[in-house]
């Protein structure tokens, strides 16, 4: 149970609570959801908070709570898939570039430069524009747009590790590149990539909502927060909760991911104290001395 306490210590309970409750909702969504999120019941149309619909219902009488839960599923599944795809491909490219260097490194890095010079949302827009809007296409598009980030991150870590004496001694021992890469370099890079990915997840959740808001991602009737926002727009005066609730859900998720990423990054790499904090600490120290 030590690892549990360690995780708790590093991440802190508010972040843990936030992120794990979203994860819980996403995993057990179909069990805890009170209604089918796509089921229409026009007699309950625009119903406000009530015993039947705790968070009300939308213009088609669909239960908002159920749709929020389904939205969490859609978003988190999207985030995880994109991170897995982009992370795997990016790590593969970055590891090869970092370990072998030379022309391979040049090609991969110029490809990354190209990726960085165009805003990632823009790349995703272009992809969806060509292949048509759908959930799958959106995930593919975001993965492509996110690959350069992970390729460059991995390449840096791997190139630094590859020049370490312990990797060189493995080469002298006659270890194959595959052994060096998979047993020694990838685990090092994986740690860094996971830290980065936990902070990146918030950004991705926003990107998914963005694309769906623009009608380029999740298509109705599938529930997704950005899509819920846009379909609630005509009723913003009549029933502001239809806009506010998905907004709150998205904000909480992004805050959760950002906190998680920041806490993990800080634990791995403690930041120098800011001047303000330092003065504060000195003042406290002085007071203690005087007392």
């Amino acid at each position: 149970m030590i690892w549990l306490r360690k995780t708790f210590h590093i991440v802190g309970w508010p972040t843990l609570l936030l992120v794990s409750s979203f994860a819980f909702i996403a995993i057990f969504g179909s069990v805890i959801s009170p209604y089918d999120p796509t089921m229409q019941n026009l007699s309950h149309s625009m119903q406000s908070f009530s015993g039947d619909h705790w968070l009300g219902a939308d213009n088609l009488g669909r239960d908002t709570l159920s749709r929020l839960i389904a939205g969490a599923q859609t978003t988190l599944l999207g985030v995880v898939t994109v991170l897995l795809l982009a992370g795997t491909v990016g790590m593969m490219l970055g590891t090869l570039a970092g370990y072998f260097g030379g022309w391979l490194d040049e090609i991969v890095m110029r490809f990354c430069d190209f990726g960085f010079s165009v805003p990632s949302l823009f790349v995703a827009l272009a992809f969806v524009g060509v292949f048509g809007p759908s959930y799958g296409n959106m995930i593919l598009a975001l993965s492509i747009a996110w690959v350069p980030i992970y390729a460059r991150l991995t390449r840096g870590v791997v190139a630094a590790a590859a020049s370490q004496a312990y990797i060189e001694s493995l080469r002298v021992l006659g270890a194959s590149p595959a052994r060096i890469i998979f047993r020694h370099l990838v685990p090092v890079a994986l740690g860094q990539v996971l830290v980065y990915a936990s902070a990146d997840a918030g950004l991705l959740a926003l990107a998914i909502a963005n694309l769906s808001f623009l009608g380029l991602g999740v298509q109705p009737p599938q529930a997704e927060w950005g899509q819920m926002l846009v379909s609630a727009m005509p009723y913003i005066q009549e029933a502001p909760r239809l806009v506010i609730l998905p907004g709150i859900a998205l904000t909480l998720l992004v805050i959760g991911f950002n906190l998680l990423g920041e806490r993990i990054a800080l634990a791995k790499n403690p930041r120098a104290m800011s001047r303000r904090k330092l003065t504060l600490r000195r003042a406290i120290f002085k007071k203690e001395l005087e007392a």
């Binding site: 370490q164 004496a165 493995l170 080469r171 002298v172 021992l173 006659g174 052994r179 047993r183 020694h184």
Partner: protein, 329 residues
């Protein structure tokens, strides 16, 4: 005369300066050999190319030209799986043992991996061999579960040596193996090298800048300056009667243990910096700093014999003694 186990001939390793594209001649035409069961010293100041030479021998740097003959084959031309098997018999010991051990592996795991790479398929045999290796470097077997950071510098270096031994090497290239260790530990590690030579007939190229360490262990010594061998000879002969002005200057810088002798010791202070290996001086490499420079020095001197098995790359080998002319400080 013994057949040398390692014969390096006219080896050149150049780097390309990434900004100017100029050649950095780190190692520029080195010829040296190692006999079986012999510890050979390679000394020189920082940046003279001695580490580059060592790294080229084990394939960590790519040679521009020349040959490295080992067991009748040119190591530089070896390819593929069989090439790797031959290359493996030349092992390398790094200066900093902490960074040459993975922070994520225990001693046992590191040795186990070295044995797997060496083709030992049976895990029980590997476990037994791991304990044997630890014993060969005089480490207690309890250390198998330790990580590199949990051991002392001397223990770490012993683990590195044990890992190199896992490949059953015939030649060890040791790059400053003791300079990051406490003085009290250095002699122990040096004695370990002597023991390996006596027990297994290991040949050892000992790269160092510390002349006294080399004197303790090496039978023969090469002196390197700016990518070239300046002097080579039997340890006893070279330390007693250095023939090259550069060696004379190096040796005159070593403090003596006897305080009376130390008082009257003549020292030579070389003027100027080591020239850049991008654009080394024509002729004798040392002529820009040599106090005994003549007009002949503008042509490259060959290796001139001095005593049996002892020669220097100087036109005035046997005729020059810059220490005798130096002032007592």
């Amino acid at each position: 005369m013994l057949e040398p186990i390692l014969q390096i001939t006219d080896l050149k390793t150049h780097f390309r300066d990434s900004r100017t594209g100029a050649d950095i001649r780190a190692c520029d035409g080195v010829t040296l050999h190692l006999n079986p069961g012999e510890i050979v010293g390679l000394v020189g100041e920082s940046g003279c190319g001695k580490s580059t030479l060592g790294r080229t021998i084990v394939g960590l740097e790519r040679a521009r030209s020349g040959s490295i003959m080992f067991k009748g084959q040119d190591v530089l031309a070896l390819k593929g799986r069989e090439g790797a098997a031959t290359r493996r018999e030349i092992q390398y010991i790094f200066q900093d043992p902490l960074s040459s051990l993975s922070p994520r592996q225990t001693v046992g795991e590191a040795l186990n991996e070295a044995l797997i790479i060496n083709g030992e398929g049976n895990s029980a045999a590997r476990r037994a061999r791991t304990l044997e290796l630890l014993e060969e470097v005089s480490l207690p077997s309890q250390l198998v579960d330790r990580y590199a950071r949990e051991m002392s510098g001397g223990q770490r270096q012993r683990v590195c040596i044990a890992r190199a031994l896992a490949a059953d090497p015939k030649v060890l290239v040791c790059d400053e193996p003791v300079s990051s260790l406490d003085v009290s530990i250095r002699a122990q590690i040096m004695n370990l090298f002597l023991k390996l030579r006596d027990d297994m007939g290991m040949a050892c190229l000992l790269i160092a800048h510390d002349l006294s360490i080399v004197r303790l262990a090496a039978q023969r010594v090469y002196v390197m300056y700016l990518g070239q061998i300046m002097e080579e000879g039997q340890s006893a002969s070279l330390y007693r009667k250095p023939a090259h002005p550069y060696t004379q200057a190096l040796l005159s810088a070593v403090p003596l243990t006897n305080p009376d002798e130390e008082q009257s010791r003549r020292r030579i202070l070389l003027r100027g910096e080591v020239p850049s290996p991008i654009n080394p001086p024509s002729g004798c490499r040392f002529r820009t700093r040599c106090p005994a420079k003549q007009s002949e020095c503008e042509t490259m001197p060959p290796l001139m014999p001095f005593e049996p098995g002892h020669g220097a790359r100087c036109h005035f080998t046997g005729k020059v003694d810059i220490v005798a002319n130096a002032a007592v400080p």
